[in-house]
Symmetry: C2
Subunit: 453 residues, 2 copies
């Protein structure tokens, strides 16, 4: 049985790649309204594709980007729901892409393009897995439901609202998400922890217009300097977040976790080389892996104000601002952190400027158990496909829906990633190796079989 | 005699305005290479204009933007050299102009457009003054030399090199510059002090590309945060510059200056209203006028890095940077300050990022005497035109050529400004009131007469 599936995946390798490329060509950038048509077309393409595989599939419109819902019964009564997202991050900075983001290109066995790993490529492993099962076995081992959203990259709430609406008809036995990564190229992983997030933009307003820095410099606050001073008060040079009560709810790592992190023997030198930085940096007293997986952060995502063109321009800017985001860990609450941040900004802002803060949607952090029947099924599937058992990891990123599923459906999610850390998710030259793609398809096929038991 | 000149200026008022508008239409933005043709055309237009008034006039090419040199003998042997600049600041932010920057427009007796006050309008007061003298008196009271550069706004060195080359043939008895302002709308001023300047851009480089703030946040330095932390270490929240030895050479105000500043009764409330700021701010222990005129500053002119578009984007930026400038006062030396700043940045920069600093050309601060024959002549001229004596002021801006003239020609400059502080030099909606323009022409005519004595 396994041999038949493996052969099918091998024999259809090129078509599977071509189909993924075709789907990746849709610039489904959900954050940009002028891509709404592309985003919908991207979802529609997948609905048609799943219909051709015999799924009952449709677009769900509930405000915001449409949701793809598709299902097909299987041999067993058990139901596995696969979540993913078909929307992608904006492409910029566009000039740093070696090949255009929406013209998927293969170089040296690696597929480059926006969405390659996050999350179109990983979603498509499951789509091609169900195809492979259907074409070789004639039917699925269990019921499979696809629930794919188009707002993951833009913080929309359509999926959350939908799941709440239909929670009584959606009664999966297990939920699977492939939107994380392997531990490294040779080591498969099941991810049991994700950070949450809360993001803001704040703007500091000074004079009504940019003014002459000679004529007015020394008389009034400089908004760009105020932005810098506010940010510098948020994080110490040693990487500690200085917002009062920020760490109050942070759950310390349990001993088995610290021990496990240590055993993973994280390669700091390789990370420095990958990122081309002269050194690593972060909160004192924690290892790099602990800082990435289990400690909250405060990051500046963008900073702007005044003259950004060529050469000097001696103005005192009318305004300046920054986009910041904080990654959160259990048991931090994004709403509570939002309140702490806004109160802190208000407490430190000088009264010689006007400061406005805007919060974007947040997401809760998650941890899921590393024991139980679904985890055991996933472990068996990975072991069959990779020839080795997965390690258990946490990740620094956020998948908001995991806490939604827990809250609304009462189910923990299996997080099984097929890509790599350096796949440039959210960055130029996003990629997904063809080997990871093919192995992901095989793993997913095994996973559905194991979960059907 | 005075009556004849005044009448001539009155009668030709509209033509004088039209000619200035015609000259302002050239987008002579010297900082932008793609405006080089416009900048040269702007200079050429003035050469032709001065030739038509009987001047010997030509463009001097010495590398960089051309210099306008023009001269005409007069009744007395004395020679007055008028310096000014025909280049202008970039127009941006373009969307904040009520009417296009290079389509001069009159609203409520005020002429709006780039260069209106800085410095085309003020240069043109002298051009129309010599015309008025020539048309009413038949000849100039003394020799008049125009020396007008096209690199004042972009820190070029062509004029300095040229003055050094021709210093033996350029032997003026007095130098006049109109590139400052009146004290207020009703109070004419002779300016005796200017700040110097030194400007920099520094760039902080982190990872090779913008990376996912979840996947990497906590492991490496955030370049935008590093920029903020560097800036926050340069200036205290109380407005004190923290670069070691920055204040070492600052000449304290003399008692007569402090007394005079106090007597000028600076209107802080009016400044707050003009700039629409909730409060004034600057170095503790000094009055607003002292901070503006006689204390050095550190300003952020621009700050940039990461995602600046709409909505959130959770990246950790590859790099970020800032443009900063420091206004300097006697006896600070821009080169020495540049060295202090670069050494300071190098001493505080974290070793987990790469930091590069680029210095732009600097300018020395200046003070000129408030006594002597030229100052007395200027005082008489202002008193005749305004019906009141000028006050003595300093200014926060920089006119680098003043220290060049002192060093190369051994002459102090008379700084007599006809515009206002709120004329939006370097800002959107730059302006020059038609009343100031006309009174400037009359004052210049009187000045040449008084200086001929």
């Amino acid at each position: 049985m396994t041999d038949r599936i493996e052969s099918y995946i091998d024999q259809n390798r090129n078509r599977f790649i071509d189909e993924l490329k075709e789907w990746m060509r849709f610039p489904s950038v959900s954050a940009q309204r002028d891509h709404d048509k592309d985003t919908r077309a991207c979802a529609g393409w997948l609905v048609d594709h799943l219909k051709n595989l015999g799924f009952k599939a449709s677009l769900v419109d509930i405000g915001g980007q449409p949701i793809v819902r598709a299902s097909k019964k299987g041999m067993s009564q058990r139901c596995v729901m696969i979540y993913g997202h078909y929307d992608v991050q904006p492409e910029d900075p566009i000039d740093q892409w070696q090949t255009p983001p929406f013209e998927p290109t293969i170089r040296d066995g690696i597929l480059y393009g926006r969405g390659a790993t996050d999350d179109k490529g990983q979603v498509f492993t499951h789509v091609k897995a169900v195809e492979s099962l259907l074409k070789t076995e004639g039917q699925l081992p269990c019921e499979v439901v696809f629930l794919l959203e188009g707002e993951e990259e833009s913080g929309g709430d359509a999926l959350g609202r939908y799941v709440t609406q239909v929670k009584d008809e959606l009664r999966p036995d297990a939920i699977v998400i492939s939107d994380t990564t392997m531990y490294d190229e040779k080591t498969p992983a099941l991810t049991y922890g994700l950070r949450g997030i809360i993001a803001f933009e704040f703007i500091v307003k000074g004079p009504g217009a940019d003014v002459h820095s000679g004529a007015y410099g020394g008389a009034i606050s400089n908004p760009a300097m105020t932005v810098a001073q506010i940010l510098a008060q948020c994080v110490s040079p040693e990487g500690k977040v200085l917002i009062p009560h920020f760490y109050d709810d942070v759950a310390p790592l349990e001993k088995w976790e610290s021990d496990m992190f240590r055993k993973l023997a994280f390669n700091e030198k390789a990370l420095m080389e990958e990122l081309n930085v002269p050194g690593l940096h972060g909160e004192g007293g924690f290892s790099t892996l602990e800082r990435l997986w289990a400690r909250p952060t405060f990051e500046v995502n963008g900073i702007f104000g005044g003259y950004m063109g060529e050469g000097p321009k001696t103005v005192l800017p009318a305004w300046a601002g920054a986009k910041v985001s904080m990654r959160l860990v259990p048991n931090q609450n994004p709403e509570k952190i939002a309140g702490l941040f806004e109160a802190f900004i208000n407490s430190i802002k000088p009264d010689t400027v006007k400061v406005t803060v805007k919060a974007y949607d947040g997401a809760f952090p998650s941890v899921v158990p590393i024991v139980g029947p679904s985890v055991e099924a996933a472990t068996r599937a990975v072991t069959r496909a990779f020839g080795k058992a997965p390690v258990f990891t946490r990740e620094g990123g956020s998948i908001p829906v995991v806490s939604t599923f827990k809250k609304v459906l009462g189910l923990d999610t299996i997080l099984i990633g097929f890509g790599q850390n350096d796949d440039n998710a959210h960055s130029p030259n996003e990629k997904f190796s063809l080997e990871d793609y093919q192995r992901g398809i095989l793993t997913s096929a095994h996973l559905l079989q194991e979960m059907a038991r």
